[in-house]
């Protein structure tokens, strides 16, 4: 492993992307997503999965085209991951079906028993049992359902995914909130650089739009309440942005040691040149006012990539459409890039697919690579009222043709998580 000659500026093995796949509310597969994204189409719609009585937000970017009946969150999360990974592995032409020759790093939303399951257990229990949890425990033990049990376990989705694709070693299930997808890629990059594995399957997946999850974010005042026209609700960087739109989806990358990939004749789709991360100690949901952790994470990623500021020619923003995030991200980008930032196109695909939470970093890595390969930058839609404090070229409303060879992709999450990736067309 790692015996090839290609090394980066720090003498480390180079990490290539040889496969990618994606599912969002816009559709399944890169082609379907790309044609919608570059046409500026939104996948946000009214929620029909569950009744929205008493909810302040009634729109989302749910993926509704995979199941006839409403699936449990973990089941949908797993299905989304499998579809994205299948596309990625097929593209990479690596291994054989059910035998992926590398490790699995998988960002999954934290697991909880769905209300549908709790209701079944409660209703099936002894009504003379006063304690509702005791009643569910009693009926759960009598039910003895392997399916109910396994999907209540935190590692279940990654475990089943590892079984399905035949990945090597212990699968890693991870969560760094809304930076999770980027963290999965970071872990894969680090493992390949160490020579622990020649290949890694890195997935971010999220199928957790349920009434309770929506309410939780509402209680934190994080969601847009622009329910009237769902497609107009997500407005990253615009003056009238009022929160993010919850969404579902999955992104998957096959990462490989560059030389190993070349040796087996794989097509190199892109190279992950740098990763950076810095935790914030300021607040559970808010960034340090001076943006220093976000700035630090971006600088680390650029330093890890060994590139100059002038080499970045597209930034895939975290751009959630919350007042707080977009202000902080814009401020931090200005701090890192200086005046020069105004000349770099920056866009947020969350304007079209919403915030896919755990999956976002992985999905955005896929779109960043597609931007490099196609020479088309997807727009930030819903830019009707510019925010005078945001001095960025957000590629408003309409996609733009431009040669792109180096992308900075940002991901930030609750709990002070800041992770950045530098993705390039080639190793040097």
């Amino acid at each position: 492993m790692g015996t090839g000659k290609t090394r980066d500026h720090l003498g480390r093995p180079v990490v290539a992307v040889t496969g990618m796949g994606v599912v969002t509310s816009l559709g399944q597969g890169i082609d379907a997503n790309w044609s919608a994204l570059t046409a500026g189409e939104s996948g946000i719609h009214r929620i029909t999965r569950f009744p929205v009585d008493h909810l302040r937000t009634t729109i989302a970017g749910t993926v509704d085209f995979l199941f006839d009946e409403t699936p449990r969150s973990a089941v949908l999360t797993e299905k989304l991951a499998h579809l994205a990974a299948e596309e990625a592995i097929e593209r990479a032409k690596i291994g054989t079906p059910g035998d992926f020759p590398g490790m699995l790093f998988m960002a999954v939303p934290p697991v909880e028993l769905d209300w549908s399951v709790k209701r079944e257990l409660f209703d099936g229990g002894n009504s003379e049992n006063d304690d509702p949890y005791d009643r569910m425990i009693e009926s759960g033990m009598a039910l003895n359902s392997a399916d109910a049990y396994e999907y209540a376990l935190y590692a279940c989705v990654a475990e089943k995914t590892a079984d399905h694709f035949g990945t090597r070693g212990a699968p890693i299930s991870l969560s760094t909130a809304c930076a999770s997808g980027a963290t999965a890629i970071q872990l894969g990059v680090e493992a390949i650089r160490r020579g622990d594995t020649d290949a890694a399957l890195c997935i971010g997946t999220d199928g957790s739009v349920q009434a309770e999850s929506l309410i939780r974010f509402s209680l934190l005042s994080a969601l847009s309440t622009n329910n009237e026209d769902p497609t107009k609700a997500s407005r990253p960087f615009s003056k009238n942005r009022d929160g993010f739109v919850m969404a579902e989806g999955a992104g998957a990358l096959v990462l490989e040691d560059y030389d190993a990939a070349v040796a087996r004749g794989a097509e190199i789709l892109a190279v992950i040149r740098g990763v950076g991360e810095q935790a914030d100690d300021f607040h559970r949901t808010r960034s340090k006012p001076d943006g220093s952790p976000v700035i630090g994470a971006m600088r680390q990623a650029l330093g890890d990539a060994g590139i100059g500021l002038d080499e970045v020619n597209y930034i895939n923003a975290h751009g959630t459409s919350t007042p707080e995030n977009d202000k902080m991200e814009a401020l931090s980008l200005e701090a890192v890039f200086g005046e020069h930032v105004r000349t770099i196109p920056i866009s947020s695909n969350k304007s079209m697919i919403g915030h896919t939470l755990t999956a976002a970093g992985a999905i955005e890595a896929v779109f960043s690579i597609q931007t490099i390969r196609s020479g088309v930058i997807p727009p930030t839609i819903n830019q009707d009222v510019a925010d005078p404090s945001v001095l960025l070229d957000v590629v408003p409303n309409v996609a733009r043709e431009a040669p792109v060879s180096m992308v900075l992709s940002n991901s930030f999450g609750f709990g002070g998580q800041n992770a950045c990736l530098v993705i390039a067309a080639s190793p040097a």
Binding site: R12, F50, P51, D53, H54, V108, P110, V111, E112, L113, R119, D123, D131, Y133, D134, M136, I137, G140, M141, A146, A148, E150, A152, L153, Y154, A155, C156, G169, A170, P171, I172, S173, L174, S175, T176, L187, R193, R194, A211, E212, I215, R216, S218, L219, L220, E277, Q278, A279, D280, D281, F282, H283, R284, T285, P293, G413, F414, G415, G416, Q417
Partner: protein, 405 residues
């Protein structure tokens, strides 16, 4: 053989049903006649659980506002992380903490079981159950509860309270998450250029009916008096969950020596594995791990801290493997720590590593706690200890720890 990239354990924070800190655990497990701590057989019947000893939270989480923002599992973890940092001489060392990397193994999601219960009780008579559910959740959930439910918010709280702000990763999913956390931290240190100083650990609050429900769905829990995992395995099997918080400071030997710090022990190979738990599969994984570690073993039989949970099949399989390893002279004295502290899921493996390092640093071993004949008195103190994991549904792991001098 020593190497500047050796991984040393230079700080340990450990809290459990047996006590707070290393001295308390050594006293309870190595000096006194071992016995389980305070067992709660009442609140979670029919399952016994091992509650955390009382803690003065202010000592490690000084701001009440921070304490209020956390649910119990996060408090336990943040507290244990504070102990580990203090033990490593790093508390308040903002320069080093700013570059310290963190890997936390977490479950998460403590629910408000009272709210859940009220909603479940009302759903049956509600005219429109779905609308009722929405209304109750919107009115009754505390906004801060969500943050206590996110798995990565233990790490987030550690950053806020203790100022650890390098990279921050949270792995999820029972025992294997804890194994992977230790394994990947060690690999990053050995590789060079991926971090010098790591804070690795987890916490588990056993006093939670929401978790007991998930575990009960698989009929994994022991009912009745708490005895050794070996005895439980012989009587139908089952695990006892115990509250625990554990954090380790891992660092490269050169980094530790440069700041004049010795370690409790050297962390050798750390191996993770998985199987679908068909008969014999877990033992096959564990045997492969032993074979991979064998070149690092000395002439003497090693001490072994077993991660047996008491779940019948896995525990009986492990026992048979251990008996053969004892017979061939590879393994010496065996202790199953979960007989005393229960299973703490994500925290279980980091706790095994902590206890192995403690024993090596004290040049002794723990006392047997088993009437089934597997755990025998140790004749002399091991200088190498294997810490194993046999997770309750999956997660086979093994680490070799060695005395430093």
């Amino acid at each position: 053989m020593s190497d500047p990239r050796d991984v040393w354990i230079t700080g340990i924070g450990l809290i459990s049903s047996l006590g707070e800190g290393l001295d308390a655990h050594w006293q309870a497990m190595a000096v006194d006649q071992p016995r389980v701590g305070n067992v709660d057989t009442e609140h979670f019947a029919p399952f016994p659980v091992l509650p955390m000893v009382p803690l003065e939270l202010d000592k490690q989480i000084p701001r009440k506002a921070d304490q209020r923002q956390m649910e119990p599992w996060q408090r336990l973890g943040t507290y244990a992380a504070g102990l580990a940092l203090a033990d490593a001489g790093l508390s308040g060392d903002l320069e080093r903490l700013a570059h310290m990397d963190m890997i936390v193994a977490a479950g998460g999601g403590e629910r408000d079981v009272v709210v859940d219960g009220q909603i479940l009780a009302g759903l049956g008579s509600a005219e429109n159950p779905d609308a009722f559910l929405n209304e109750r959740l919107a009115n009754d959930l505390r906004p801060t509860l969500f943050l206590a439910q996110l798995s990565n918010l233990l790490a987030g709280n550690i950053s806020i309270v203790h100022k650890v702000t390098g990279s921050s990763r949270t792995f999820m999913g029972e025992e294997l998450a804890g194994i992977s956390a230790v394994e990947i931290a060690a690999r990053r240190i050995r590789a060079g250029g991926q971090g010098e100083q790591f804070l690795v650990g987890a916490a588990y609050n056993a006093e939670r009916k929401d978790m007991l429900l998930s575990l009960a769905l698989g009929n994994t829990l022991w009912q009745g008096a708490v005895n050794s995992v070996w005895e439980r395995a012989n009587a139908g099997g089952g695990m006892v969950t115990g509250s625990l918080g554990v954090f380790l400071v891992l660092e490269s030997r050169e980094n530790a020596e440069a700041r004049g710090k010795s370690g409790y022990a050297k962390l050798g190979p750390v191996l993770s594995g998985r199987s679908r738990r068909e008969p014999g599969q877990a033992a096959a994984v564990a045997r492969n791990q032993i074979d991979a570690i064998r070149p690092s073993l000395g002439d003497k039989p090693v001490g072994l801290l077993s991660g047996a949970t008491g779940i019948a099949n896995a525990t009986l399989e492990e026992r048979a493997l251990l008996e053969s390893l004892v017979a061939e002279g590879t393994v010496g004295p065996i202790r199953a720590t979960q007989s005393l502290i229960g299973n703490s899921l994500e925290a279980a493996f980091p706790a095994q590593v902590a206890l192995a390092a403690l024993a090596l640093s004290r040049k002794g071993f723990y006392r047997p706690s088993d009437s089934s004949g597997l755990e025998l008195e140790a004749t002399d103190a091991p200088t190498q200890i294997l810490a194993t994991s046999w997770g309750f549904w999956r997660g086979e792991g093994m680490a070799l720890l060695e005395a430093i001098d």
